[in-house]
């Protein structure tokens, strides 16, 4: 789900502001300070297509969208390709409406491989050009390319990404109370018990996210699934080679339930465990700052949710540690997600933009502007300023990492963005594991 990769402060004001900014950028253009650039256009020679336009549609909005537009400002200036960027909070539904209505954007950043497959099967997507393919293969691991490959054909290069296997905490509180960052599941539970024993609520969580309510809970299940089972079983589950209500899945869900449905553990600052389903995911972890809870499992992009002035660092107000594995011998499984740049048109300028977005130059330009994580191998970790982004890039580039893509994004949308989310909401509200999993299994498209 794309929602996961963007801060959803969802302020209409900010959107309006963004529109004004975009309009201003269209009018002027010369006066913007493309700080990241060197002013030397020779690197862009291969992409030149004077006087052309390319439209891009994605779910990235507000500040992040501004940074994105800044990241290709120099490219636009040097190549003569104007990029019309549009970000929408209704991206997933609207993209399908636009494509079916014959009004597809040239390029879309799709965060769900399931959706890529659907468009590819329907013959709407254009396979990447040879140049893009070469760049994508050089810059991203085969694992990542697999998600944008349908029937042996590559449809897009990976773009931004995020790491989900993080537990947010307050280093300050940890030092004050003498807690140690847990490195195994048992230590994590022992720490939770210690906090609960002292009369506190160790965990806080929130899965309300507008029409995407439920997705943070699916991330929980996927992350635990990667810890109770092997990555191979995870793949089988995601591809429906084992039923959704397989005992192995039930085991993972129940284990997640020992935290999420445990009224002694949750929901710090919000109420009982049922309050998880009505707590906005953006607010889910904030009680950490007031010491009403201590731990909050959420992805790297949660860094954007802390109020202004919060220091996100190993010695700051908040930071995150790796969501520990149950059995350390199985390596460090990582759950993550990201967008892919797919094209609905194959005009040369569209291909040029697609190729450029797959390049190391763009990844580094964008990273220098801040708040950016990508699995691009060319990305120089020194260009990443934010400590949590640095940690994420380090994990993504580590060859020993066992990476798995967000399962609900790989499943068919009616499950991955439908019954899985809904089922999780009902589960949090007290429905039993077996009933929930059967409900999801029954809805899997035949």
């Amino acid at each position: 789900m794309a929602v996961k990769s963007r801060p959803r402060q969802a302020l209409a004001v900010a959107t309006a502001l963004g529109l004004v900014l975009t309009a201003a950028a269209c009018g002027g253009g010369d006066d913007d300070s493309s700080s990241a650039g060197t002013g030397d256009c020779s690197t862009y020679d291969a992409y030149k297509h004077e006087g052309t336009e390319v439209s891009i549609y994605a779910s990235i909005r507000d500040t992040e969208a501004d940074l994105l537009e800044e990241s290709w400002a120099e490219f636009t200036e040097c190549t003569g390709i104007a990029i019309n960027y549009e970000g929408s909070g209704e991206f997933e539904a609207q993209l399908q409406v636009r494509v079916d209505g014959g009004n597809a954007p040239d390029i879309a950043f799709i965060p769900q491989p399931g959706l890529i497959k659907r468009f590819a099967d329907a013959g709407k997507l254009k396979a990447v050009s040879a140049d893009t393919k070469t760049k994508a293969e050089a810059n991203y691991s085969a694992d990542w390319l697999k998600y944008a490959t349908v029937n042996g054909q590559l449809y897009g290069a990976p773009f931004g990404s995020n790491v989900k296997s993080f537990v947010w905490y307050s280093p300050k509180t940890f030092t004050e109370k003498g807690y140690k960052v847990p490195t195994t599941w048992d230590e994590l539970i022992a720490l939770s018990d210690q906090i609960a024993g002292a009369g506190g609520k160790p965990w806080c969580a929130g899965i309300e996210s507008g029409d995407a309510t439920g997705w943070p809970a699916t991330d929980w299940i996927e992350d635990v699934m990667l810890r109770t089972q092997t990555p191979e079983v995870y793949d089988q589950w995601v591809n429906h080679e084992i039923p959704f209500n397989d005992p192995k899945v039930a085991e993972a869900v129940d284990r997640a339930g020992t935290i999420l449905k445990n009224d002694k553990y949750v929901n710090g600052g919000f109420g009982d465990s049922k309050s998880i389903s009505t707590t906005a995911f953006q607010e889910g972890g904030l009680p950490i700052l007031e010491d009403k809870c201590t731990l909050h499992r959420q992805a790297s992009f949660y860094a954007n949710q802390w109020p202004e002035g919060t220091k996100v660092a190993e010695d700051g107000d908040v930071y995150a540690f790796y969501f520990p594995a149950i059995d350390a011998s199985g390596g460090k499984p990582i759950l993550g997600a990201g967008e892919f740049t797919v094209a609905f048109a194959d005009r040369p300028e569209v291909q040029a933009v697609q190729t450029y977005l797959a390049s190391g130059e763009h990844a580094n330009t964008r990273a220098k502007l801040g708040n950016w994580v990508s699995a691009n191998k060319q990305l120089d970790i020194n260009n990443v300023a934010n400590p949590i982004d640095k940690l994420s890039v380090g994990i993504l580039q580590d060859a020993s990492t066992v990476f798995r893509f967000d399962g609900s994004d790989l499943m068919p949308a009616s499950v991955g963005a439908g019954t899985f989310w809904k089922g999780m909401v009902d589960w949090i509200n007290g429905k039993d594991t077996a009933g929930t999993l059967k409900y999801i299994e029954d809805s899997w498209p035949k």
């Binding site: 409406v97 049922k274 009505t278 439908g418 809904k422 409900y439």
Partner: protein, 353 residues
């Protein structure tokens, strides 16, 4: 991000162009609408006069052909748009409802068996039924009672304006207001939701209203929003109807010694019956289509979904075009009897008049 007016000049020019185009087009159309029928009428009169002068008997409907063409000419664009915007999509949706997820093969009645077979979709249908039964009844009743109570009372205009106000708020806006009414904070915190604050004042525990604690409480709480919006509409129409009751009838009834109760059941209600039917039918159709409130409040979670919301989700979010179309067709089928009833009703009134 400085906003330079000069930079935007071309946009203003465009806006001006649009305005001019609008004036020219609409003004021209109005002019044509005014001139042509007048000219045709004058001509016919002249012809009739000439015929009468010559002593030729006049055939009924003579000279109507040209006016018929004119009428067809004006109707054609509307019919064309209706065909493109309504009839074609309706036919296409019906066809799609018999096809699979991506509309690539026919699957017969699979989508319909799915609709009635899935427990969660059954819940959706049940919810829609509850909405349709409760909203028109309560909204009309409340509107009617209010209309009678404030009729000829002091400060009638203000009282009416108060209940009519919610009508002017969009469904989404109204839902956001009510979201705050139902908002939940745990007992140890300050309540930000009105309802829970009242509960706390009376010494109760704050409730998570929208999660639903049985008896479809959350659906009923969403229904309250719709009633809040629609009661004003009912009140305005019914109030106008009450005022239109001929004073003689009311006076005659008074002289005959009716009490208030008899007055309502024997005089007022029969007199405003057509208005009540219009109100009920309009609200029923609006209720069947309810989408914004559910989507804004819960997005159909906690078993509060209704057909329109589920249709949107299935078609556009899950890519299950077949399922979505089947739901749409079902909704369409539900509306048809109401529309037929309304048309027959109008016809009957006309023949009575």
């Amino acid at each position: 991000m400085n906003f330079d007016l000069a930079d935007q000049a071309d946009k203003f020019v465009m806006l001006l162009g649009g305005l001019v185009a609008f004036v020219v087009l609409v003004g021209g159309l109005l002019l044509v609408l005014d001139v042509i029928p007048t000219r045709l009428a004058t001509r016919r009169e002249a012809r009739l006069a000439a015929a009468a002068d010559a002593g030729v008997p006049i055939a009924a409907g003579a000279g109507r052909g040209r006016e018929g063409w004119l009428a067809a000419g004006f109707l054609a664009p509307a019919l064309l748009l209706l065909a493109i915007g309504l009839i074609f999509p309706a036919v296409r949706t019906t066809i799609l409802s018999f096809m699979n997820r991506d509309s690539s093969a026919f699957v017969g009645f699979d989508n319909y068996t799915w609709m009635f077979g899935q427990p969660d979709i059954q819940a959706v249908l049940l919810n829609t039924l509850i909405w349709v039964l409760v909203v028109p009844t309560l909204a009309t009743t409340i509107g009617l009672i209010y209309a009678i109570l404030v009729d000829k009372a002091r400060g009638e205009a203000v009282a009416k304006a108060l209940i009519f106000l919610p009508m002017s708020i969009s469904f989404v806006g109204a839902s956001i207001i009510w979201k705050f009414v139902y908002a939940y904070r745990s007992g140890e915190q300050d309540q930000i939701g009105l309802l829970n604050q009242i509960v706390v004042w009376f010494g109760g525990e704050p409730q998570q209203w929208l999660l639903g604690q049985g008896y479809k409480l959350n659906t009923l709480l969403l229904i309250v929003i719709m009633i809040w919006i629609q009661a004003g509409f009912a009140m305005v129409i019914l109030s106008a109807a009450i005022k239109a009751i001929p004073a003689e009838i009311v006076e005659a009834a008074r002289i005959d010694g009716t009490n208030a109760w008899q007055m309502f059941w024997r005089i007022t209600l029969p007199a405003i019956r057509p208005a009540v039917i219009v109100v009920v039918v309009t609200i029923t159709i609006a209720t069947l289509k309810v989408f914004d409130i559910v989507r804004t409040m819960t997005n159909g979670n906690y078993e509060t979904s209704v057909i329109a919301n589920e249709m949107y989700n299935q078609s556009f979010r899950y890519g299950e075009t077949g399922h979505g179309s089947a739901l749409a067709v079902f909704l369409f089928v539900l509306v048809i009897p109401i529309v037929i009833f309304q048309i027959r009703n109008i016809r009957k009134q006309r023949s009575e008049a």
